[in-house]
Amino acid sequence: MAANSHGKTNGSTRWVGTRPVRPDGVDKVTGRARFGADVHLPNMLVGKVLRSPHAHARIRSIDTSAALALPGVKTVVTRDDFNDLPSEFVPAGEMLVNYRDVVRNVMAREKALFEGHPVAAVAAVSEKVAREALALIKVDYEVLPHVLDVVEAMAPDAPLLHEDMITAGVDPAPTTPSNVAKVVEFKIGDVEAGFAEADIVIEREFSTQPVHQGYIEPHSCIANYSEDGQAELWCTTQGHFVVRGHCAKLLGMDVSKLRVTASEIGGGFGGKTVVYLEPVALMLSRKSGQPVKMTMTREEVFQASGPAAGTRVWAKVGMTNEGRITAGEAVLKYQAGAFQGSPVQPGCMCAFAPYDLAHVKVVGYDVVVNRPKVAAYRAPGAPQSEFAVESIIDELAKRIGMDPVELRLKNAAKEGTKAAYGPTFGPVGLVETLEEAKAHDHYRAPLKPGQGRGVASGFWFNIGGETCATLNLGEDGTIALVAGTPDIGGSRASLCLQAAETLGVDVERIRPLIGDTSTLGYTFLTGGSRTAFASGMAVVEAARDMIRQLCERAAKIWDIPAEAVEWIDGEARPAGSNAGEFEPLSLADLARLAGKSGGPFVGRAQINAQGAGPSFGTHIVDVDVDRETGRVTIERYTVIQDAGKAVHPSYVEGQLQGGAVQGIGWALNEEYIYDDKGRLQNPGFLDYRIPVCSDVPMIDTVIVEVPNPTHPYGVRGVGETPIVPPMAAIANAVDSALGLRFTDLPMSPPRVLKALGDARVPEAA
């Protein structure tokens, strides 16, 4: 057996699937872990941003002279400090970004396009002085009419955000500009023929509000630009290589001259995949010659960092009386915020993905509005479109009196299903999650009077991509694992388990580190639920590389061919009696002999991970509606999801629980409230209320494992799918409780009360 074929799983695992304490755990329970804002450098300045008070305004002039004259102010930057960049689309997270827009989002140029849009920034000896300086900057604005709503923004007479924006994806191209950046379409079969086969057709319009990722750690960074043109950047990010690329582009630097270190990250959920402060801090540091630290306030996080897109979705589904879905159609209108690039495309692709359908058509519109540019938020685009479709599926089931899980089982996508967006699914676990739901105690438990139960399924693609990893063998046989994907929820634990499994050594002997951008090759960011999968694959590859070297070394020591050595349970052994009689050489033995036998051992991998397995989930929720206050209480919640293989089951459960509770917030409470001038009225956690501990019950989880054949241990990404089903599951449960179908989110107490009043439901339950 060739040495490099070792380390494959045979189905039973020693480490993968166990629940050790995470390697970074103690630092995080003692306050020792260093997050974005936890670092101070000698001679450091504090940077602050001046932001537009207007939702839409032309910037006639900016006068910074008084600010610069204030003692303690070291420098000021404005649009004049950043070169304009041409229109060019590059991947960032699960979206594409355009540098023409990135440079404008970081610092407004011609116009301020949303309240909170950066207009200038100062670096000063203290935060106090920096704040005083901001008040001295004079900006001459010409206030323009603004537009916040996606449908209003599409109207022919709407205020134009970008006077040169011509809708892409329309043939022939329009001759006049509009706020519609792009139109996309996905179809399979012939929806008209499909609807003709249907006995029942339901169509409805839905709306969702923008919601913020709500990470508890605000954006923060420290830039240290040296006189020789090199710079270091410390920041909280989901992808420091992506930050390096964006900053180098905006600052006109070689990427090799910018070393970016990812701090511990206090939540991201997609929102820390883009740059806001980082290029500004670098520019302030370049101009001042001193390190500059910048941290957003919570208000700035809400005003100026990316929410998930607010949407209008029209959807239509046809079904036979026997429960066979014959066709699905949808039109999606997604807010992009101030610059194009909403996740409407993945929204289109995911809308009907849970179903095996012959006829599907989905059209999506990417629309700019005077709000902060949207950023990825956990399965970007999917929750909004699947909310619409999963609500109609529930209504169809109720119409024919069929169990909603049964209806989904009858139509579920499975291995071999051709998805409307193109690919044919390999092994996927939707049917398994539905079977688990049907069999679950929760699904059969009796409800109290007035309560309702709802079910919904959800889908997310998951991604792979460029990934590097290194394993450095120490002289005592312990290992330093270096990965390039910031650990946002326990991935270091998962990577160590996969390395331990492959090498056959105790997981405690492996210490992980997220390397900076100079220690590893380009590694795409933590997003798309790719880290346990793609960095996992890279770590397994690196372990196999090390095993190959270890076997070759043992062969050299024993003076036998490398092919005659195999790696079993963490040691090199002669492969069978023909190879000769030798005492096995353990990892520690070989590490100790390294210097004398040929040099150190470093296992490396640089891969472009392919074959990320999609993940399906099914959620069951029971709600109770208070008919006097309109409050919807989550009484019981169960998440069932396919993880492929749960490497560290506790952290898989954590993803399922956390995603579900974010979905509960999206469904019931979270929304941005603007005044008539386009100013955000609730930029804080008091008025933008995310779920708190007393709002939710325990979140039960069931992990289904349908292995992903492309990963050595069968791993699929799990982080994003859990936020997809909750909105529809809860709307379906509220409908079961009240007989009222909510199509607009959030189902907050005022809206529920209004709907109860409109339906003339007696107040006393």
Binding site: K28, G31, A37, G267, G654, G658, L686, V692, C693, I699
Partner: protein, 158 residues
């Protein structure tokens, strides 16, 4: 304006610092004393990431001025472990995987410690309401609540 001179006790040690009148206790802990375990998530008392114990009372360090700390005893996350012995809550949070990103964790631990000092046998509902001032966006609270209940049980039995 000249800075104020403040003498206080932090995690049992006498500490002196100078601070501006408008600096919060959290600013002082983080930026003057470099005790960065207490986090700033909101600066408005809504997220609880800066939870500390002041003279036995659980408070948000962002809602108290540094000058108000004169003569008081402050306990932060940095003082929670006893030397190299983790507090049982810290151990249980690790065992239960009650953290993901970990930025809210110091605040939850300090708040939970304060709860167990008052109520060694809390119900799930009592834990949930006591911790309702601490926001966590990663975990959905499930494993946090379990870790606190398990710690309480262990400390009662211990």
């Amino acid at each position: 304006m000249a800075k104020a001179h403040v003498t206080t006790t932090v995690n049992g040690d006498t500490v002196e610092f100078l601070c501006d009148a408008e600096q919060t206790l959290l600013d002082v802990l983080r930026d003057e004393l470099y005790l960065t375990g207490s986090k700033e998530g909101c600066a408005s008392g809504d997220c609880g990431a800066c939870s500390v114990i002041v003279d036995g009372r659980l408070v948000c360090a962002c809602l108290m001025l540094g000058v108000e700390a004169e003569g008081l005893a402050i306990e932060t996350i940095e003082g929670m472990a006893d030397g190299d012995q983790l507090h049982p809550l810290q151990t249980k949070f690790l065992e239960h995987a009650a953290l993901q990103c970990g930025v809210c964790t110091p605040g939850f631990l300090v708040a939970a410690k304060s709860l167990l000092e008052r109520n060694p046998d809390p119900t799930e509902i009592e834990v949930r309401y006591w911790l309702a001032g601490n926001l966590c966006r990663c975990t959905g609270y499930d494993k946090i609540v379990r870790a606190v209940l398990d710690t309480a049980e262990e400390m009662r039995g211990g």
